[in-house]
Symmetry: C2
Subunit: 212 residues, 2 copies
DNA sequence: CCGACACTAGACAGATCTGTCTGCTATCGT
DNA sequence: ACGATAGCAGACAGATCTGTCTAGTGTCGG
């Protein structure tokens, strides 16, 4: 309604939507160009004029995932009041995603597993991981953790592990477990239990990861 | 010295060794048959007479990984005395592996990310995951955890998350963090801190996972 | 009206991949 | 000595994949 073309989406947009669906569902290497253009109803020449190469399409696919992921998480986190709830809310969002029938784990890890290192996948993937880590660090700091980076390191492991488990075991059960563990770790970091062992985690020199 | 053929390994063994190296390093789909036979110094006909198809080779590759992984973990766990040390020892073994320059994450997840669901990869992969979960469940029970399956669910998440983190971040740092968190979770499960929140995890109906 | 632009349809080249087939060689048990 | 077995070398077929190119169509601003 309040937008650009009421008609049908541009070839570029249809291409991106098809790539997003097919690449995520079956893998960037497994799915060929022909499958993508057929699904998008687009000519092959349009693909190459828009993205230059398949690698260009893969990059655009991952960048789109990265951007929408940030938007979704930040948007969903706004409904939580306290810093604690916002931190745990990241796992609530993950639980929602993991419960979707189309869930196939982390798009960046999946693409990375199919690609030779040093390519475009690694680049976008690194940016995505840096954002996640920095998100957890910020939330940990806001929640009052004395060592936000250390707590973030723990939460990232839980987050990754949940993603893997939900995909491989074909059930979102891990998300519930991970959220509970995250809550316990947060409590421990906040010193709710003075004699509780505070899990050690090395503070990596990532204090100023750029949140692009 | 004390073995079978002092000469050179059979074509099958060389094939398997090459597949193990190349498939793990670059992916089962990315690496073609020609690369494998060239690296193994073996004729193409030998490959197909030994394994029938590329899928057969992939299955043998993953089954070999599965078997050696079990043997290695069980062997390394024997040097620990207490149940607690054995449980945490799983993360020590993981730390060693993650520190190796050739480490590329979980071979089963990587292969799964490259393959369409329902194939041979999924089958071997499921067996591997079932074994891991059952290992943690047994160790948790021996360590005296009141709900071994619940603790195992938490440990599996840490294990998976470490594997992902070490691969994607290209550093084994996560293993140290995960081990510390595992220790804290074990202590919490054992009730060292009566008023500590015991993280909830649903007890899945996997009490009798066959440890093949 | 018309020229720029975005797009479509599909043939085509060249590379690569799986899998088959033929012919040759070496080794080993009997 | 000899036949069976295991293996090597490489050509070949057929499919598939990326990427290019030609030619035609529709649309829209000026």
């Amino acid at each position: 309604m309040s937008g650009a073309s009421p008609r049908k989406p541009s070839a570029r947009d249809r291409l991106l939507a098809s790539a997003d669906e097919l690449f995520y569902a079956e893998g960037v290497h497994t799915v060929g160009i022909d499958r993508v253009i057929e699904h998008a109803g687009v000519a092959k020449a349009s693909l190459y004029s828009c993205f230059g190469s398949k690698d260009g399409l893969i990059r655009a696919y991952l960048e789109g995932r990265h951007q929408r992921r940030r938007e979704r998480i930040l948007a969903e986190l706004e409904r939580f009041r306290t810093p604690r709830d916002r931190l745990l809310g990241v796992f609530d969002v993950l639980a929602e995603q993991a419960a979707a029938p189309t869930f196939r784990g982390c798009a960046f890890y999946n693409a990375s597993a199919e690609s030779t290192p040093g390519g475009v996948v690694e680049e976008v993937s690194d940016a995505n991981r840096a954002w996640t880590r920095s998100l957890f660090t910020d939330l940990a700091r806001e929640a009052g953790a004395p060592d936000p980076a250390a707590l973030a390191a723990q939460l990232v492991i839980l987050y990754d592990g949940t993603s893997v488990g939900a995909r491989m075991d074909r059930t979102p059960a891990a998300a519930v477990t991970a959220r509970a563990v995250a809550a316990a770790l947060l409590d421990a970091a906040l010193g709710d239990h003075p004699d509780a062992p505070v899990p050690y985690a090395p503070t990596r020199g990532d204090g100023d990861v750029t949140m692009r």
